[in-house]
């Protein structure tokens, strides 16, 4: 029997074209045995949410360096609610000021990883958060 794999969307919303960080994270998650669906640059929240649904993803990872994190996190989380897909975890990273992190978490973001975070921290968080999600599904 083939085991269930963690499936993660790595997405870059908006017009910021700096995808080095997203690629580093995507590669690290791949090496941790996850299936990473990479959407590429300049995605709208609608595209990201629809992709997550079609791919039956466990989590959406958003990389933002433009400063528009509040809008994009908010909109993506809202769209997930509309589509009754709030069980899909949302996390992210990039250039996000410390002060904004509590706000994003209050909106429903599971975790925010700032610059300099070792990829292992992100992997560990994802592994345990996704397993909790799976446990809720079967409960």
């Amino acid at each position: 029997m083939s085991e269930r794999k963690v499936r993660v969307i790595v997405a870059k919303p908006g017009l910021d074209g700096h995808d080095r960080g997203a690629k580093v994270v995507a590669r690290a998650l791949r090496d941790a045995g996850m299936e990473v669906i990479y959407t590429g640059l300049r995605q709208t929240p609608e595209q990201i949410v629809q992709t997550a649904i079609q791919e039956d993803a466990d989590a959406i990872g958003i990389s933002i360096l433009s400063g528009a994190h509040e809008y994009y996190f908010g909109r993506i989380i809202e769209l997930l609610k509309e589509r009754k897909a709030s069980d899909i975890l949302v996390f992210g990273g990039g250039v996000i000021p410390e002060d904004d992190v509590p706000k994003l978490k209050a909106m429903g973001a599971g975790a925010i990883f700032g610059p300099g975070t070792p990829t292992s921290v992100c992997i560990d968080w994802l592994n345990s958060a996704v397993r909790e999600k799976w446990a809720r599904e079967t409960a």
Binding site: E3, R27, D31, A32, V36, I37, E46
Partner: protein, 315 residues
């Protein structure tokens, strides 16, 4: 589960996605799902797109989706990328080139890792295609991993196989080789603005002429997928091939062959499961000692286990 299947059959994307995951992870419900889904399938035109890495499969797929859409068709896409043989992880990046269709309710795109399969697809690609077919997609487009010379599993599940070639990949002997060159129903020479495109097309045509008269002579088409050139013709030839299969003896032969393979595959899987259980029971240090000392042979052991399986199933 009943509700999930019903919603998927109505075309709900979230439910379709869930079904594919359950089948892909070989969950215990997979068989129940496929039994319910199967009777609704068999309507879609299943198209395979294959070719070497970087030949332009995803870019061409993107344009093909758009053309089918303009003809009023709904499209399901399965894009397969390789899983790591070391960690099992994967970067699934085909849909990156198809994201313009992400929010279209008539298009459903799903990425799959090969998860250890070597034939250019994953083990559950066929089931995923059947699910998309049953859930109302008119066309199911399967993009294989970037292939070499012999990953030809796509021919087992697609009605129409498009092989994408690019200029500069070798001489006419490459084109005469067995394997991938034998499975194409349509040859597509992509990146046709590059030097050597005409030569590739001519060489493929010459190879096809050597094969003599056949009921379907694969067309050789030139495209520049990035600029959407030649794609309309690819789509119309794909549709012509589907028509050909519908009314020809060749089409009937292929359909029967595929149905036979589906039954064989299920039989093989069930028998493999029985063998695994029986062998687990039979295994013991004593048995291994006997085998190592050559007091018995693997043939005798296998024969005995097979005997137990047969008597147990007959009871």
């Amino acid at each position: 589960m009943e509700k999930l299947i019903a919603r998927a059959l109505e075309g709900d994307h979230r439910s379709i996605a869930r079904l594919i995951s359950l089948v892909e992870s070989e969950s215990p419900q997979a068989e129940i799902i496929m039994r319910k889904i199967y009777p609704h399938s068999g309507k879609a035109h299943i198209i395979g797109l294959t070719g070497s890495p970087g030949a332009g499969k995803s870019t061409l797929a993107d344009k093909i989706i758009a053309h089918f859409k303009s003809l009023g068709k709904t499209v399901g896409v399965i894009a397969v990328d390789p899983s790591s043989p070391f960690t099992g992880g994967a970067i699934l990046g085909d849909r990156l080139r198809m994201q313009q269709h992400a929010v279209d309710p008539d298009v459903f795109i799903r990425s799959m890792g090969t998860r250890g399969s070597l034939g250019g697809l994953s083990r559950s690609t066929q089931e995923a295609a059947l699910i998309l077919d049953a859930c109302g997609k008119d066309v199911v487009l399967i993009e294989t991993v970037g292939v070499g010379q012999s990953e030809v599993d796509i021919v087992k599940i697609a009605d129409t196989v498009g092989l994408i070639l690019v200029p500069g990949m070798g001489d006419d002997i490459q084109i005469m080789k067995a394997g991938i060159m034998e499975i194409a129903d349509i040859f597509i020479v992509n990146k046709a603005d590059r030097d050597g495109a005409d030569r590739v097309a001519t060489e493929v045509n010459m190879m096809l002429d050597l094969l003599g008269m056949r009921p379907w002579r694969p067309p050789v088409l030139k495209t520049i997928a990035e600029r959407n050139e030649g794609v309309e013709e690819v789509v119309s030839e794909m549709t012509r091939h589907a028509d050909f299969l519908r009314r020809s003896e060749e089409g009937r032969r292929r359909r029967w062959q595929r149905l036979g393979m589906e039954v064989e595959e299920i039989l093989r899987r069930e028998i493999a499961a029985m063998v695994e259980v029986a062998w687990e029971k039979e295994k013991s240090p004593e048995l291994f000692e006997l085998l190592a000392a050559r007091k018995t042979t693997p043939y005798e052991v296998a024969e005995r286990i097979l005997g137990t399986i047969l008597t147990e199933t007959c009871d």
